[in-house]
């Protein structure tokens, strides 16, 4: 689609969002909760907290719910009945966690709109989409991805833990956003890159009247964001130094809590489990983390990733080497959540930067 550009005043963006809510859309935005900010359902524009840099968790759960029912089953005598959750979304179990998240209602789930996300979070969608489609087409993911509309607001001032620029995005990137807003003018400038974005703007005549189309040139140009280090170098180091002692020493301080993976917008590992009684139950998939020892524990008792160093190395390898080799992108949007949330102050930006420097100096 050809990109389109608009200008919209502060008042009108408020109207737009409230209209979307009134049109029975589920609108999700950063919202104050327990002296922190989380993505949560809003019923009014004013609920949204647009002043903070990033909510504590990403909106990943709207694409990959924390728990997702794949199917239900019941056993009677020697027969087993399966109820496919995707085909029978209405009958399937709906889990509403109150946080507005984990809705795994499948096809009939309807559209969800994320408002006020940052370019980093928005960028995670297409990055994950590749994983869920390169071989097996994961309809559960795709249904949600298709129905998720993302209106992001560009960052003005990243913090010390941010490294989206290094991760080949930028504070003003529109990658993954259906509509990218930038502050300026009477309120915001909007860049619409997808049909979904247009669909939102044209969802009513009132809505479309709130946006004033402008030329590409009238849209403010991106700042010249400079990367502090070269992520390719990081990759280069990882390519050659699987056995480096760096990992073992550095991650002695890692307690394996998995917060980095759980709060990461792109980490997407899950675990499949059955739950129920003797006669009926359901098969679900739950978030999982490569930082847990049990993640790679073999039935034999052998564990190929025996130390936390091995596990964190895996996280680095996956994000900055393996994924890149397959999809020519990084499995990281540089949001810095893993660093900010780490109880042991392990800083991914610091690590990727150190690795790039070590690659430079040829240090192992």
């Amino acid at each position: 689609m050809e990109e389109k550009y608009y200008e919209i005043s502060s008042d009108n963006i408020e109207k737009f969002i409230n209209n979307l809510v009134e049109q029975n859309n589920e609108v999700i935005a950063p919202k104050d909760k327990d002296s922190d900010t989380f993505y949560d359902k809003i019923t009014n524009f004013k609920d949204a907290d647009l002043n903070i840099l990033l909510p504590k968790l990403s909106f990943k759960e709207y694409l990959l719910p924390k728990t997702e029912t794949l199917f239900e089953y019941s056993i009677s005598g020697s027969s087993i009945n399966i109820l496919d959750s995707l085909e029978n979304a209405g009958a399937a179990r709906i889990i509403n966690n109150g946080s507005g998240g984990s809705d795994n209602s499948g096809k009939k789930g309807g559209k969800k709109i994320i408002f006020g996300s940052r370019p980093c979070d928005a960028g995670a969608g297409p990055i994950m989409e590749k994983v869920f489609n390169w071989d097996y087409k994961d309809e559960f993911f795709n249904e949600k991805f298709k129905n998720l509309y993302i209106i992001s607001i560009a960052c003005v001032q990243p913090d010390n833990y941010c490294f989206c620029t290094e991760a080949q995005l930028s504070p003003e990137s529109s990658y993954g956003s259906d509509i990218l807003l930038k502050k300026g003018g009477s309120g915001y400038y909007a860049k619409v890159t997808t049909e979904k974005g247009l669909e939102l703007i044209n969802s009513s005549s009132e809505n479309s009247s709130l946006f004033k189309e402008i030329s590409k040139e009238a849209f403010p140009a991106d700042k010249d964001w400079k990367a502090a280090f070269d992520i390719k170098k990081t990759q280069g180091f990882l390519d050659k130094n699987f056995t480096s002692n760096y990992f073992q020493e550095k991650f002695l301080s890692c307690i394996g809590c998995g917060i980095c993976t759980y709060t990461c917008p792109t980490c997407h590992c899950f675990d499949i489990q059955d739950e129920g009684t003797n006669e009926k139950g359901r098969r679900i998939r739950n978030w999982d983390s490569c930082q847990f020892g049990i993640f790679t524990l073999h039935t034999s008792g052998h564990n190929p990733r025996v130390t936390q160093g091995d596990r964190y190395r895996q996280r680095l390898m996956h994000k900055f080497k393996i994924y890149n080799e397959k999809f020519n992108k990084y499995l990281c949007v540089g949001c810095g959540r893993c660093s900010r949330n780490c109880p042991e102050d392990i800083d991914l930006k610091e690590i990727t930067s150190e690795l790039s420097l070590m690659e430079n100096s040829g240090e192992v």
């Binding site: 009677s76 009958a91 709906i94 209602s105 009926k280």
Partner: protein, 164 residues
């Protein structure tokens, strides 16, 4: 939507169990009570109630274990999660444990566990603990009847372990 599932389950239950007025459809009226009892005192006490042809409420389902010391408080959580409205734990009187001290250890654990349940908003009226010896068939009967009546008198619980 939560309700949808419950209805669906009900249908399944009906189908599975035919016309039986057993566990399936009776659940609206008759709360399910699970009793975890020790093999040596309470199970024998219940047997004595039987051989004495005493009558008591039908709601209780007994799970036999060697000793109250084996009855993990987490079984109670599982019982609640699987729909039990009340859980009874019963074993030998202090000093009478077949294994010397199983009931003492158990009592300690349940003391803390009950506090925790209550703190998390589970009505501890739903958990009963009693010492019933092998000669106390009548006590078994009165404990079961009283507990069943108590459970019936409680409002429908909405605590975290009542949901499925």
């Amino acid at each position: 939507m939560e309700n949808n599932r419950v209805e669906e389950d009900d249908k399944n239950a009906q189908n599975d169990k035919g016309n039986l007025s057993g566990s399936g459809s009776a659940k609206e009226k008759e709360p399910r009570i699970i009793a975890f009892v020790c093999n040596w005192c309470t199970y024998n006490g219940a047997d004595l109630a039987g051989t004495s042809r005493m009558k008591y409420a039908e709601n209780v389902r007994v799970i036999k274990l060697p000793c109250t010391g084996r009855i993990d408080p987490l079984f109670v959580v599982e019982a609640f999660k699987k729909g039990a409205k009340g859980v009874l734990v019963s074993g030998c009187h202090p000093g009478d444990c077949h294994y010397t001290s199983g009931n003492y250890h158990s009592r300690r654990k349940y003391t803390a566990f009950r506090d925790l349940l209550s703190y998390f908003g589970v009505d501890t009226n739903r958990v009963e603990f009693s010492w019933i010896s092998a000669s106390e068939g009548n006590k078994w009967v009165s404990v079961i009847n009283d507990f069943t009546n108590k459970i019936k008198s409680l409002p429908d619980s909405s605590d975290i372990f009542s949901k499925q």
